[in-house]
Amino acid sequence: MEKMIQNKLDPVTFEVLKNGFVNLVDQMSEQILRTCYSFVIYNRDFSSALCDAEGNTIMQGTQDIAVHVGTLHLTAKAVIEDFGDDIHPGDVFLINDPYRGGTHFNDVRIIRPVFHDDRLIAFMQSNGHWADMGGSVPGSFDVSSKDHYGEGMRISPVRVWSKGEYLQDVANLLVSNMRVPEERLGDLRSQAEATKVSEKELHRLIDKYGIDTILTAFDEVQDYVERLARARLKELPNGTWETTDYLDMDPEIGDGLIPINIKMTIEDDEIYYNLEGTHATIGCFLNSSFGASLSGLYAGTKTFFPDIPLNSGFYRVIKAHLPEGTVVNAKWPVAVSGFCSGPYEKIMNACFELWSHVVPERALACSFNLEYLLIGGWDTRSKYDNFFMWYDWMAGGHGGRRDRDGANAMSPVFGAGLSVQPCEGQERLTPVVTSKHEIIPDSGGPGKYRGGCGIEKGGTLTNVTDTVMSVCCDRSRSVTWGIFGGLPSNPHGNWLNPGTDKEKFLGAFFSNLKVEEGDSFSRPSAGGGGLGDPLERDPEDVIEDVIDEYVSIERAKKDYGVVIEEMDADLDQYKIIERETKETREYIRMNRQKWLNEDVHVVHKMYKNGKIDKLDLIRRYGVLIDFATDSVLEKSTQQFRDMLQRRSVAYWD
């Protein structure tokens, strides 16, 4: 270790102030959690930051959602850029502009400048996901929009308090464009008060330690994180790693996965990400702006250095090239509200794969995709007569790991702190009865270490009129993949009236679908991808999975080549048939590469004849089908099969 590291503060003062900054930022988070009006914030879609006078982030909250990481300094800088010297004590600003460093319109940032003796020294920033920002669709997620005009209220930096005076006219103008405006005013107040509480705390620190020490600590805390990150990177080998992940499609084109290409270079103590080769922006809202994509790179990297605090010091060691006009750097006015389900998660998971090669002890296969469903309409239950919004996101499976299975039923990597909602709360507030919220057997991607299991949530609409449904997801075709020989899990994609003669496959994104009383729906979330060759999985682990019905006896044989016989299910008694297991594993080993080259139409026919099922299509044959039209996606299949060659086949012996 290098001795006598240069730090302008003595180690005690430094440690005290560093923790003091963490504390004041977390205090902001706790306050908005307790006083907010948006249930999305309440379920932890928020973040907080202390930024310095230049807008650089000194500290982010410890419970912040991943997707906001590394974007808060950009919005602080946008305020500085627009207002310059016209920033005064008692001012409070608001911004949600994704083209200025924001993520999407719902993420509303409240920014309060902090002064000491008339000198601007810092900004307190509170970012919360407001439940609605106006636009054509409840919840402000219009999947089909190509530009932002219909999506919701775009707010470039605007002053809401001026020298302590509340600008009611401005606030009213903003919320008058949103559904349930009084709740949005509640959120505004809640966030503004939270920044005030942390401002007070910063003043306490200034009183105690003096302004010079505090300003030095602002720099030192960033420098410290930078040193820490550089020290870690120096221990790693130099080199370049490259991979591609895919969005499902451009709905205007149809068949064909949309590539996001990431080349990562580690050179001494810095990381360079180059996303050249990524596809041009697509004709729906699954594009991402610069700031949001950068956040995906930061968050993907951070996952492999979980103990390094997040601030601008960390961001200094990461350089990125995001080609303009592509899905990872969409320019105004291209729609980007779906970035979180789209490029963001692809970037993060691609980083997981790249880093799994560099830091294998933290290896992680792909995790399920963020999925959220919105139903908005009129509630006609007795004693209810109001507009309702059922807005729900799912848990799902995380990727297999170096020495253990992926976690079952977790929040998306987009925000591990995001909490899934209680069905009982939803049933009270909305005319939707949940029919199930359960783990899907066989949804974990097969591997030596299985991906975590996905979830199925289903529901029925009871008393509604004028009601529409939208879904924002991805990976119905670019199925959640395995690494180091592991296999994919199961596709996302929702069903209307499943199991009835009105059954219809809706896919992983659609909006403003009319639904009525009695309609039911079902939503599977994907499991995580597997890690390592599934034929090397310990049969004892497979039998435990069978007992718990994470894996069926049928798929134990197909995916793992493990033949299991039921003795007495009531007593959890099953046994492994050793000889058949050996033979089955040998048979799969001999044939599996051939299956992945089988003619797609032959495979499709086997599927139509019922000889193989949906999971066989994906895991065994690598064939993608559009379940809505029952047609083969030839181009997508080719891309998918190439991907399987790279991530799975290359590791099989």
């Binding site: 820490l228 995001l418 899934v420 359960e438």
Partner: protein, 680 residues
């Protein structure tokens, strides 16, 4: 015959028996090793050691970590969950979150009941309590057969929306009781009829996995105590800060989950009140961790948001206790970025701090306190001696890193450790809207009194109280009443709700409360029922509880209290905004007579308590300073001691830094505060 009150606190390592003689008001603490496999053996050993016979015991109360340990170690009976079709994975899906957001290799603990033991039945109730699907008797009977075959010992029943109507749950419970008469069965609607399926199911499951185990243990203990001649009830401390009898332990076993740590909070409340403080922060600092609690205006803070293991909440109200990884054994180190850190890793009991000479090589708080002369080189009346060479050597890496000498390093370690504890004190005080200047700090546990004066100084807490014994927590078990909390989700807009309707609901709940207290043998004149109402601004998600009148005539006062509490907690309120009721709660208290701790008259002089002068390091006086060392048992009450000074007793050391003055009160508490000008 002499009558004694006995409190037993069974911890992970030691069982403390606190005996209070009702006639002489004398107290005695006996310590024995805990016997984790059969904790009752340790309890009986401790009582024998205290030399008290069963006939002499008037009241026997008990705090135990048996529940906590059973959960953490997963030593649980074979338990099944029965739930609504489609929802058996609720305890595994939880809310999908994890404690460590960024570490993909740190998992949430697995569910208490594996998927293979989670069963479903066809039934459904909607949000308003209507039965959408009836229970199928035959289906339940078939399931009972399967459970019998599997030798299930305990069953948790939790159905969707059972907080509105327990009709289906009770039907299933009745069938199962008939089919499986020897199995422990509990239903969510009878335990905690509150909204949100995961939280209610989690509480019910914890109740079911602890039920047979904890009630067996209490029954065994009761039998043993009976053979020793004690014929009263065993009162068991629960996390809500009250006690209940063994019969109720069976029903509300999940309330025992943190019985062990509640005692310390209660003891610190009592001691602060004895000293005349209504606001106090309790700081129980041991070898590896510190438990912090807060009392405001005579009430300990209560939370409904707690767990033993992250992800598995227990919905019963509990005294809010914050546990942090800071203790005497916390390790100090420099990280790669050049930052000095303390904890949460700890040297533990083995190898222990470097100065114990048992193989520890990294520096701990204990090493730092020892090097600075604050700890004697002989501890526990000379039974243990500390190794200075080892402590000096342990400081070396920090000296190299920061250019310190060993004593600067030791001083820096303590400052960082103190800063960490202050961060925790801020979380429970400033962050919740409490001003530390209005509080006293009650510091105990083996290491509490070494650090407390500095913590108070940093936090601007005017007074520190050091109770006579560091193991004072056991006393907490003697200081509580029988107590139950009856809660009910109740959602209504204040502008529309009928006050009569709330009154009726409260009356129903009070009827239940009285039944519970009667079962506990509480006489009517000793019953006290307190009503609380949870409120929030319409549209908000979290609620705040305020206490209200009985009987209820209007909501005006409740509303005023709500706005005031919102302002206190969050620095703003909005009296113009609509307010919504979210839940009702009855605090049912059966008053138990409390011991009167004795007051002592001064005898002897302070000089007689002076053991020696020792060089002790204080940054304030420029380094090592000749400092008087006192023997605590010999210090007369009403003494005043100016800092710097050290007060030693068998199992703890009190540091009175320069600029501070200590007074010994008539209960033998040491009260430390910043010296007024001219006093020091």
């Amino acid at each position: 015959m002499t009558k004694y009150r006995v409190a037993v606190d069974v911890g992970g390592t030691f069982t403390d028996v606190f005996v209070f003689n009702e006639k002489t008001k004398d107290t005695l603490v006996a310590k024995t090793s805990s016997t984790p496999t059969n904790p009752e053996i340790g309890v009986i050993n401790g009582i024998d050691k205290a030399n008290v016979s069963g006939e002499e015991i008037d009241i026997f109360s008990h705090g135990t970590t048996a529940g906590t340990n059973a959960l953490i170690e997963r030593k649980l009976p074979k338990t099944a969950l029965i739930t609504t079709k489609g929802f058996r994975d609720v305890p595994e899906i939880r809310r999908g979150t994890k404690l460590d957001l960024w570490d993909a290799y740190k998992d949430v603990a697995p569910p208490y009941i594996k998927r293979r033991d989670r069963f479903e039945v066809s039934e459904r109730i909607d949000y308003s309590g209507n039965v959408l699907m009836e229970v199928d008797k035959n289906e339940v009977k078939e399931l009972a057969q399967k459970l019998r075959k599997r030798n299930v010992e305990s069953i948790a029943i939790c159905f969707m929306n059972a907080y509105v109507s327990g009709e289906n749950e009770i039907k299933v419970k009745e069938i199962l009781k008939e089919e499986l008469p020897d199995v422990y069965i509990c239903a969510s609607s009878e335990i905690l009829p509150e909204i949100f399926e995961h939280e209610r199911m989690s509480t019910t499951i914890i109740n079911a996995v602890l039920g047979p185990k904890v009630s067996n243990y209490i029954n065994t203990l009761e039998t043993k105590m009976n053979t020793k001649g004690y014929d009263g009830d065993i009162l068991v401390l629960h996390s809500g800060g009250g006690v209940m009898t063994s019969e109720m332990v069976q029903r509300y076993a999940a309330r025992i989950a943190s019985s062990g740590i509640a005692a310390g909070a209660i003891a610190s409340k009592h001691i602060a009140e004895l000293c005349g403080f209504k606001n106090a922060i309790g700081l129980d600092m041991g070898g590896t961790s510190t438990d912090i609690s807060l009392m405001y205006e005579g009430n300990l803070r209560v939370t409904k948001d707690w767990y033993i293991e992250y992800g598995y909440p227990i919905g019963f109200p509990s005294i809010e206790i914050m546990t942090i990884g800071a203790g005497g054994g916390s390790l100090a180190y420099a990280d790669e970025g050049g930052s000095l850190k303390s904890g949460p890793q700890s040297a533990g009991a083995e190898p222990g701090p470097a100065c114990y000479g048992l193989g520890g090589v990294e520096p701990t708080n204990t090493d730092a306190n020892f090097l600075l002369g604050r700890l004697n080189n002989k501890l526990l009346d000379g039974q243990m001696s500390l190794n200075k060479e080892a402590a000096l050597k342990a400081m070396q890496p920090l000296c190299d890193q920061f250019g310190y000498n060993e004593y600067d390093a030791a001083n820096a370690i303590l400052k960082v450790a103190n800063a960490n504890m202050c961060d925790a004190l801020r979380l429970i005080s400033v962050r919740k809207g409490y001003d530390p200047r209005d509080f006293a700090l009650v510091a105990f546990g083996g290491a509490g009194a070494l650090h407390s004066a500095y913590l108070a100084k940093e936090m601007n807490i005017p007074n520190v109280i050091i109770p006579p014994f560091p193991g004072v927590a056991a006393l907490g078990c003697l200081l509580v009443d029988v107590r139950h909390d009856i809660t009910q989700t109740y959602v209504a807009d204040v502008a529309e709700v009928k006050v009569n309707d709330i009154e009726e609901k409260f009356k129903d709940m009070e009827k239940q409360a009285i039944e519970l207290l009667e079962k506990e043998g509480v006489a009517t004149e000793n019953m006290n029922l307190i009503r609380h109402i949870e409120m929030r601004y319409v549209g908000q998600w979290r609620s705040l509880a305020v206490s209200i009148d009985r009987p209820l005539h209007s909501l005006t006062d409740a509303l005023a209290s709500f706005h005031k509490e919102h302002k206190r907690a969050f620095a703003f309120s909005d009296p113009e905004k609509g307010v919504e009721i979210y839940g009702l709660r009855i605090e049912a208290i059966g008053t138990v007579p409390k011991p009167q701790l004795p007051k002592e008259k001064p005898h002897g002089t302070l000089v007689e308590a002076l053991k020696e002068y020792r060089d002790v390091y204080f940054e304030e006086t420029g380094g090592f300073t000749s400092t008087p060392i006192y023997n605590r048992p010999d210090i007369p009450v009403s003494s005043i001691i100016s800092g710097p000074a050290i007060v030693e007793q068998l199992d703890s050391t009190v540091v009175i830094p320069p600029e501070f003055t200590a007074k010994v009160d008539e209960y033998k508490n040491i009260i430390i505060s910043l010296s007024k000008r001219g006093e020091a």
